[in-house]
């Protein structure tokens, strides 16, 4: 199976930028109701709206290797980048994950995120890979960014999805 690429396992074992830090502008808590995985995530922005710079993204996550690693990659990809660039990365990541294997992902846009291409063939795991990223877009919105301007829809936000028996 090509799901667990070495780079994913590395991120899962030693997640980058992990831990909750101050200062921050918004903090969100997202869960995956099917498995109980959770992430608490903070963003700190300098500047206004799209051109604002993400100076920090910190998180505390409990979850499977896919969700932990994906959140680690998220931090790598967005810290030190503008909100606009970060949301472009989000869209690219989501496009790849929901492509059923057709979109190999672009390393320029999502960095180590391309290692998650195998996830797109396992629909049950897409939510795992998007948990941190969905929390991130929610945190941006709560920090006052108008994320709708960047064609980010909340259909991947797991927080309010119904329980699955």
């Amino acid at each position: 199976m090509n799901l667990y690429q070495e780079i994913i396992l590395e991120h899962a074992k030693r997640p980058h930028h992990a831990g909750l830090r101050d200062p921050f502008d918004a903090q969100v808590h997202h869960i995956n109701p099917t498995c109980g995985d959770e992430v608490t995530l903070r963003v700190h922005l300098v500047g206004e709206d799209g051109s604002a710079m993400i100076t920090d993204l910190s998180y505390d996550a409990v979850g499977c290797s896919i969700s932990i690693a994906s959140t680690s990659v998220l931090a790598d990809e967005v810290i030190g980048h503008s909100v606009e660039d970060a949301l472009t990365s989000f869209s690219a990541m989501r496009r790849m994950l929901t492509s059923k294997g057709l979109d190999p992902g672009d390393e320029d846009e999502i960095g180590d995120g391309v290692a998650f291409v195998g996830v797109s063939k396992y629909p049950a795991r897409i939510k795992c890979a998007l948990l941190g990223w969905s929390a991130f877009t929610d945190a941006l919105a709560q920090a006052g960014v108008d994320i709708t301007r960047y064609a980010v829809r909340s259909n991947t936000v797991t927080r309010n999805t119904p329980e699955i028996t």
Binding site: M1, L3, Y4, L9, K13, T34, C35, G36, D37, E38, V62, G63, C64, S65, I66, Y122, R125, C128, E163, T165
Partner: protein
């Protein structure tokens, strides 16, 4: 057959014959690997006999039950009511005590709503005052559940407590996954009106001490509601022997179709209960100003019922009866013992629930040190082994065990020891993939 033969595991030849009835078991998954299906606790597969019964209903008798004057309507009604009788026999019940629901969840909600609906003006008119009093629930009254309940036997009682002002209390569980029986006398008190508990835990596999719980509930005059989803498919269940007041189970976990479940209740209680869902079929007389309702079980079966599923469920009961429930139990017990023994040899695996097979059903949940259950399940799936991962709709139970999730294997009559071995072999791949020392 001598008695011993009635309660032993299936022979290899018998197992092969059983597996032959389930077409899906011969398919492959994940690039040609034989399917090893160990997720029957979530839903079981359906034998040809059940599918044939449904098909025959649709091809020969399909019509709306309890309506119409034509021959097909008669046949469909007869098929539906005969199915009710078969299901009733299977659990030792009277036919009119069996209510068909869409699943066990609906059955449990039906009972929960009877309590809050009973408070409406006129809802209990004409009901014997002594019986009506048992459904009166309000501030100061208590509902008792257990910490090992599936959400289906937990959330409806939380909601009932919220609607009525009653208090929800629960019996705790021990570290090895049994009920804290010391809690029985302190948690179940004169204030208790309802005791709702699972017969067999869908996570821990624990078979609960029904007699002790029922005795205590009776002593304080509380009604008992049993979630039998994980027992009816695996153990001989007799509602009279159990002594509970209500019992709910689903069809799809016992080789029956999806979309049908059963609520059994003592007739005296069903007769006193106000309806849950209302509409066609469940009425006696309807006027613009108001209506009166049919006697149970029709009172609780609003709308055109799921006749084909009822016929399929009856076929599933017949199938299990033909296998012999004591043999089903013995067979699954042997598989459970084999799995527990195999897991015990792997110190990096921790079983959540009773470590031995005593008073234990065939749901075996476990944690692999340092590896998330989703990742464990993914590796097993890659070997063709289907298990459940997550909290299995028992989140408070997992929290009690200091876990967010577990991996769960669960058995049905069609599983084999070879499949237990396949699970263990696949499991042995897990530490290496995730770099966990063993």
């Amino acid at each position: 057959m001598p008695d011993a033969a009635l309660s032993r595991a299936f022979t290899a030849a018998e197992s092969a014959a059983i597996r032959g009835d389930f077409a899906i078991l011969s398919r492959t998954v994940r690039g040609g690997k034989p399917l090893v299906y160990l997720d029957s606790g979530a839903t079981s597969h359906k034998p040809r006999q059940v599918l044939d019964a449904e098909r025959a209903f649709y091809e020969q008798h399909n019509s709306a039950v309890h309506r119409g004057a034509h021959q097909l309507a008669e046949e469909a009604t007869d098929a539906y009511e005969s199915a009710r009788a078969t299901v009733a026999r299977f659990i030792g019940a009277q036919t009119e005590e069996v209510v068909f629901t869409k699943n066990a969840t609906e059955g449990l909600n039906l009972v929960a709503y009877a309590f809050s609906n009973a408070a409406a003006a006129g809802a209990m008119d004409g009901v014997d005052a002594r019986v009506a009093a048992r459904f009166a629930l309000g501030v100061g009254d208590e509902i008792v559940i257990t910490e090992m309940e599936h959400h289906a036997n937990l959330v409806p009682w939380q909601e009932l407590a919220r609607r009525t002002g009653a208090t929800l209390r629960w019996i705790g569980i021990t570290d090895d996954g049994r009920l804290e029986l010391d809690d029985l006398d302190t948690v179940i008190t004169d204030r208790t009106k309802i005791v709702a508990f699972t017969h067999v835990s869908n996570v821990l596999g624990t078979i609960n001490p029904v007699a002790a719980i029922v005795d205590r509930a009776r002593a304080v005059g509380a009604l008992t509601v049993m979630d039998a989803c994980q027992s009816v498919p695996h153990l001989a269940v007799d509602v009279v022997d159990l002594g509970v007041d209500f019992l709910a189970f689903s069809g799809h976990k016992m080789f029956g179709p999806m979309g049908i479940g059963v609520l059994w209740g003592r007739y005296e209680l069903l007769k006193a209960m106000p309806p849950f869902l209302t509409g066609g079929s469940m009425i006696e007389v309807v006027h613009m100003e108001g209506s009166t309702y049919a006697a149970p079980p029709q009172r609780f079966e609003a709308g055109v019922p799921m006749a084909a599923q009822a016929v399929g469920l009856a076929a599933a009961c017949d199938y299990l009866s033909a296998l012999g429930m004591p043999r089903v139990t013995a067979h699954e017990h042997a598989l459970t013992e084999a799995l527990l023994a195999g897991l015990a040899q792997r110190p990096w695996v921790r079983v959540i629930g009773p470590a031995d097979g005593k008073d234990r059903g065939g749901a075996v949940a476990f944690a692999v040190d340092g590896v998330h259950p989703h990742d464990v399940g993914q590796i097993l799936d890659d070997s063709g082994v289907a298990v459940r991962t997550g909290h299995h709709c028992a989140w408070p139970l997992h929290r009690r065990m200091n876990l967010t999730a577990t991996t769960r294997a669960s058995f049905a009559a069609y599983n084999t020891v070879a499949e237990v071995d396949a699970l263990l072999m696949a499991l042995d791949r897990v530490p290496a993939v995730f770099g966990v020392a063993v």
